[in-house]
Symmetry: C2
Subunit: 129 residues, 2 copies
Amino acid sequence: MSPLCQHTLLEFHGCDPAQLRHARKVRVLMREAVLRGRGTIVKSLFHNFSPFGVSGVIVITESHVTIHTWPEHNYAAVDIFSCSEKLDHKAIRQRLRETLLARRVSARSFSRGKLPKNLPRVNKRPDAR
Amino acid sequence: MSPLCQHTLLEFHGCDPAQLRHARKVRVLMREAVLRGRGTIVKSLFHNFSPFGVSGVIVITESHVTIHTWPEHNYAAVDIFSCSEKLDHKAIRQRLRETLLARRVSARSFSRGKLPKNLPRVNKRPDAR
C-alpha cells in the first residue's frame, strides 16, 4: 500500500511561555518554520483564546500545519500533515524547537491514505485556481 | 500523567467523490458534523485545490477539526483534536461516515499534552475575547 501523506504529531515541552501567548507572535514563528521546511503557504488562521493560549493553522499546498499552545503549561502541540516529499518535517520541528525554546520535543509519525499500489496517482496538491 | 487533549485520526475510504470535490459542500458537511459532536465553532477556513480536492479546518473552542479530500481516490483524511470531554469524537465520525457515504472508516486515537498530575489545570479552552 502506498500512502498519500505523512503526518507528524509533535509535543513541545518546557517552552518559553512568552512565545506561546499571542496569536500574532505564534503566527510569525509558525510561518517562518513552515517556510524553512519548504512549505508553500496558501492561507492561515490564528486565534487568541482567553485568558491565554493560541490555536492556529497554516494551510499549505502540501496540506496543513497546526499549533495549539498552553502558555500556562509551557506546552505546545504541533501537527505537520503533508502529501509531498518536498516538505521537510524535521526542519520545521527543529526550527520550532529553537524559536519556542523547548526543552523537550517528542514526535510520532504516521502514514495517511494508504491506497492500493496499482491506483494511478493524480498530481499531488497543485496550487489553487 | 494527565493528558490535556485527545486526538483522533480518521481515514474515510470508498466515499462518494461528489461530496469531496468542492470547498462549499465540504464546509457544510464538516460544520454540521462538528455541531453534532457538540463542538463550538470559532472560525473556519476551506480551500479548493486544482484540479480537485479540498483542504479545510474548523477551529473550535475545544481545538480543531481538519479535513483533506482526494475525490480522485474516494478518500478523505479527518483529524479531530479536542481538549474538552464535551466534544463527541464518535458522533462526528459517524455523521461524516453518513454524509461522505464512506464504505470503510478507520480510526487511531492518541493523547496529546501529557503533563505531571500535580500541575494545576487552568480553565480548558474558554471562548475568545
